[in-house]
Structure formats: C-alpha cells, structure tokens
C-alpha cells in the first residue's frame, strides 16, 4: 500500500499492462520523450523503448487510425488524445470507424484499443480545453466509456480497458492528476461496468463521476452534519457499460436520486440515468429526480467564473437540502 498521485497511477497502469503483454503499445503527441503534456506518461519511453512508446505528429486522425488498424490486426494499442476537446477533430474514428467495425463486419473484426484523453475543467484553460465530453462518447453504440475518480481506479479500470476486446475511451480528469490516494501493491485489475458505493446512506442517492465524486462526498458530509440528510454517494465510474443495478438498488433504498455532472446540462450522462430510474424505479421514487450540472454554457477561462460554473459542494448541498427538506 502506498500513496500515489492520479498522474503516477496513469504511468503505473500503462506500465503494468505493457509489462504484461507485449502487444500493448502506446502512441500520442509528446507522450514519449517529453513524458506527456500532463506528465502522465513520464518514464514509459525510457522503460519500454522507442518501438513501444511512440511520439506522433499533431495528427489526431492518424493517431486513432493507426491505433485502430493495429488493433484490428493483432495489437492492443493505447492512444492518447491530449485534450478530450480534440476528440472533435478525429470524431470520425470515435463515432464511425471503431465502434461500428465489429457490427458492420458481422464480427469478423474487433477493435481492442484504449483512447486515453485529458477531460474536464478546473485548470483555467478556457472553452476549448476544458470540456467534459463523456456524454459525446456515451451516445455511440459499440464504444465503452470510462472515467475514473481516484488513483486506484485509474489503474484497475485502465487494466480492464486494455484487456477489453472493444474500443474503450478512458477519460482522465485533468484537474485530478495531482490528487493522491492509497493504492495497493501488486497488479490491480478492475471490472468495467461496475459502479462503487463510496458512502452508504439512507435518505437519498447521489450519483457522480470523475471530479464530481469528491465534491459529492464533501456535500454528503455537510448534508449529514447540517441538514440531517444521510446521502448515499455512488461513483458511476463507467458510463458504458452502465451499472444500473447498483444505482437502482440504491434508489430502491433511498427513494431519491440526484446526479452531479460536470458536463453542460443538455443530455449529460445523468439524463440517461434519470430516465432509466424514472422508468424502472418509478414506484420507488419519493420525489423528483434532480440533476445538478454545469449550466448550458461554454466554459470561461477566468478562475472565479469557471468555479462558479461547475457544481461544487455548496451548490450540491443547497440544492439537495432545498428539495429534500424544503
């Protein structure tokens, strides 16, 4: 057991998988000799050499195309798209090419690869380098979507993603790279499609993802202390596959659901969860389902404005207390 940063967890995760399987290769812009713009791949080039850890030109389409071509012919590539916003310049591969391959070829081909990308706000990069795009990727049949909130999950879910036979988009949260957490020694492998209950509660269920998880946990403590509301907090971790069983089970117990989402409001991932719960768990609901999101705006660069836009503990507390006790 050792304390590890989210950033170092990325390095350890890739390292763990590359040591295990020679077919795992890694490519991206500035990832090799420079160690990545977020320093999340430092040392991999030195450890695995220029054949397995490769710098690419600024060519997102070539990066994902190369990863896909290699994946469908035998390798298990990990490709980095530096900022998740850049997914828009290579969306053909994410939306059209990779996820449809198995289906269109009637299973003749599969596409076992991982796209890791720096997602989310909190680092004052402005509207084109701060977005939470997990919902863009959640809408595509054939793709799996993961977004870990802690160092140990980074390792376990990355290992699961690399070993999965499908294209997996792995959203690393930029603002979490410097956060730390306890990580056990030895190999860590988790399971995609499993949510984690991080705080047990009886009065309401709060579902959160990535950076919003710690804020939801903080809010839950305040709700218990100041408002007498005992909230259950679930880190959804994987949007596709989606662990609806854990969420529905929690709502069956608490009767209330809140989602905390960093994405702008319209069709954020919480909308799908809200829809499933409103349908399948209708008779368990003791009040409206409430989504707490970033407003439907682009993100500003100014720190005080960005902070205002993203859901934080006090906004979560205020909203939940008003709805529950109001």
């Amino acid at each position: 057991m050792a304390e590890l940063s989210y950033r170092d967890a990325v390095i350890r995760a890739i390292s763990q998988e590359m040591e295990r399987d020679n077919n795992v290769v890694f490519l991206g812009e500035d990832v090799a000799k420079a160690g990545g713009v977020f320093k999340a791949t430092v040392g991999l080039y030195e450890k695995f050499g220029p054949h397995r850890v490769r710098d690419t030109p600024i060519s997102e389409q070539a990066i994902l195309g190369a990863a896909m071509g290699a994946a469908m012919t035998g390798l298990r590539p990990i490709a980095e798209i530096m900022f998740s916003d850049f997914a828009a310049v290579c969306f053909d591969f994410i939306a059209n090419e990779m996820p449809k391959l198995s289906y269109m070829t009637n299973g003749q081909l599969t596409c076992p690869l991982v796209i890791r990308t720096g997602n989310g706000a909190g680092v004052r990069f402005g509207a084109q380098h701060s977005q939470s795009i997990e919902n863009w990727t959640m809408m595509i049949p054939g793709l799996k979507v993961v977004a870990p909130s802690s160092p140990v999950d980074v390792i376990g879910l990355m290992a699961a993603a690399v070993r999965d036979n499908n294209p997996v988009i792995f959203h690393e949260h930029k603002a979490l790279y410097s956060t730390k957490g306890e990580v056990p020694d030895g190999e860590i492998v988790d399971t995609l499609g499993t949510a984690k209950i991080l705080r047990a509660g009886t009065d309401c269920t709060i579902v959160a993802l990535a950076m919003m998880v710690s804020r939801a946990l903080e809010a839950a403590e305040i709700l218990a202390r100041d408002h007498g509301i005992n909230a259950e907090v679930i880190d959804v971790r994987s949007l596709v596959p989606l662990d609806t069983r854990t969420i529905l089970g929690s709502v069956a117990k608490t009767g209330r659901l809140f989602t905390v989402e960093e994405n702008p409001r319209l069709l954020g991932w919480g909308a799908e969860i809200a829809s499933i719960v409103a349908d399948e768990a209708f008779w368990d609901l003791d009040g409206p389902i409430v989504r707490i999101t970033t407003p439907h705006i682009p993100l500003p660069a100014a720190d005080h404005l960005e902070d205002l836009a993203l859901p934080n503990a006090s906004r979560i507390v205020e909203k939940i207390a008003r709805v529950m006790n109001g």
Binding site: P57, G69, A71, T73, T105, N106, D164
Partner: protein
C-alpha cells in the same frame, strides 16, 4: 516473329498474365451482374461500380501475396474480388442476403473478408488511409512480413486524413502502399476543378518526400509492375509509396447517377482504352489462343451465374443478427 520477341522478354509470365485477365473479367462480369440486379430491384440501397477501373484492382490482386492486407473504399467490389473473395459472398452482400460476406449487416459499402486479407471497405473516405497505417505499423512492430495496400479515389486526396496518413507513414517508414485511382471525377465534379495541382496524388508526393509515381491505370501490366516494385520496397523496410493510377469510370458515381455531367465523346474515348479490351489484345500479342481466352470468359460467366442463382435462393439473415456483434462478446448489452 513479334510474338516470339515479346514472349522471350516477358517479365510477367504466362501464368500471371492469365490470372490478370481472369481477375479483370471476373470483376467486370460480377459488376455488370450487379448492375443487372439493380434493374431487377434485387439490390437495395446504394452501390458504386468501378466498371473501367478493373486493371488496378487486378494488377494489385496478382502482385499482393496471401497474408497481405488491403483496405479500400465504398467503391470496393473490385478490390474485394481481386483478393480471391468468392463472387457469391460479394453479390450476396450487395443483395443483403444471409450468404453475403457480412450476412447483410454491412452492405455494399463495407465489404470485408478478413480471411482474404480484405480488411474492410470504408465509406467515409480518408479514414482508411490512417487505419492502413495502423495495419502496417503492426507488421513493422511484430516483424511480420506482410504489407498493406490502401486504395482510394482522387476525391480522397483533398481530405485532411490523406495528408495526415501520408506524413505519418513516411515518418514511421511504414510498409504501406497508397493507391490513388484517379478516374477524373470526385463524385460528380471534375477533380481538376477542385484541386490545386493537376495530378491530385502524384503532384503531392513531393510534399512527403516520396517519388512522383503516375501510371496508366488501364493497363494491368503497368499496374502489376508498379505494384510489385512498391510492394517489394515496403516488404524490405523501404517505407511507403504513393501511386496515382489514371483511369476512368464507365458508369456514374453510384446507381443513382446517370453521369450527365461528362462532356460528349469523353466516355467513347475512354471506352477505346477499356482495360479488358487492352488486355485481351495483350494476350493475343503474346500468342495466347482465342480458345484459351474464351475458356476464361466462359468460366467467369459460369461462376457469376452460379453465384447469382445462389444469392437469389439465399434467405435474408435471421433477425437476431440485428443485435449481434455490437460488442466483441457478440452481444449488445450496455447495462446490467
């Protein structure tokens, strides 16, 4: 006397020549049959023929070895057949029947036959140049000796992915051959009207440090020789090639296109240079008898007829395929 001279100087050899002709004829017959089947309303959706462009697919088909990979576009019937894929699988897919290559799940624009090295037909042009790079990278990384050929039309040269892939392949020295089939029109618009250089691929090779290769795409021998050279270079670690083949599409862009935009006389001029016509004469020049030519043509038609009958008799795919293979476990489940 002329025959003898040609025969002794023949670098291609009788066996390969017959194979080049057989492939061209078979592609021509299969595509003409596809056209007939549209008219009978037995082919639904869209379909893009490459009548008149057969020499390119055939030239590469003979030059590529088993185990080599090929990628093509939605206009990919020829390239799929040229790798040895059975006619029935192709026509069955065009007719969206259960005996199609992908049992009707892909359709004419996505013909794939992995066992023949046909790694897919890509209908949003450009992407597959990048994907071909990945296939070539795998061979390079694992030390496997196969090469990857990637076919595309002139229109593809103006999309960003073309340039990303070219640069990437050269920088990584990948064993990939990019084959531009310049048939003069992107879809309906002449490529010359929308491109900064006269030869959309060849004139851009220099930008990526590659030699300018511009060849007659209607002469299967020329294509075969050029392909063989590029393939050998790639196999030996010499990196990628970009080849522009001049050719002409006898029919419209797709089944919906009567090709009224072509100036009068253009088609007739190119019909004179029909690759089948050229090659039939070539065989005669090399002393191959009419009876042998007839036998190839008869055998091709027999295959296509047989395939057509099998496709007409084939059922549609069972409906449970609808939700199969969304994910690699064979299923569709996104939740528990």
């Amino acid at each position: 006397m002329a025959k003898e001279k040609l025969a002794t100087n023949d670098d291609i050899g009788l066996e390969k020549r017959l194979e080049l002709y057989r492939l061209q004829i078979e592609i021509r017959d299969a595509e003409k049959r596809a056209h007939d089947l549209f008219l009978q309303n037995l082919i639904k959706g869209t379909s893009h023929l490459s009548l008149g462009q057969e020499a390119i697919a055939a030239g590469f088909g003979v030059a590529l070895k088993k185990g080599d990979k090929s990628f093509c576009t939605y206009r990919g019937h020829a390239h799929t057949l040229a790798r040895g894929t059975p006619v029935e699988g192709v026509l069955g897919e065009l007719m969206l029947r259960d005996n199609g290559l992908m049992r009707g799940k892909g359709g004419s624009m996505h013909l794939t036959s992995v066992e023949h090295g046909v790694m897919g037909s890509y209908a949003i042009i450009g992407a597959h140049l990048c994907i071909a790079c990945g296939s070539a990278w795998r061979a390079q990384y694992l030390g496997e000796k196969d090469v990857t050929a990637c076919f595309f039309g002139d229109g593809t040269t103006n999309i960003g992915a073309f340039h990303e892939a070219l640069n990437f392949a050269v920088v990584w020295r990948l064993p990939v051959i990019f084959v531009c089939e310049n048939n003069l029109y992107m879809e309906y618009t002449p490529i010359s009207e929308v491109t900064a250089v006269p030869h959309p691929a060849a004139d851009r090779a220099a930008a990526y440090g590659l030699p300018r290769i511009l060849i007659d795409g209607n002469d299967a021998d020329v294509v075969y020789r050029t392909a063989s050279e590029a393939i050998a270079k790639a196999r030996e670690g010499g990196g990628p090639s970009l080849i522009e083949c001049l050719t002409y599409r006898h029919s419209g862009h797709s089944r919906a296109d009567p090709a009224k935009y072509r100036p009068p006389g253009e088609l007739e001029k190119w019909l004179e240079r029909d690759p089948i016509k050229i090659y039939r004469q070539r065989l005669k020049d090399f002393g191959i008898g009419q009876d042998q030519i007839d036998a190839i043509e008869k055998e091709s038609m027999r295959k296509v007829d047989e395939a057509t009958a099998a496709c007409k008799a084939a059922p549609p795919a069972p409906v449970d395929l609808l939700t199969a293979d969304v994910y690699a476990d064979g299923g569709w489940a996104w939740r528990n």
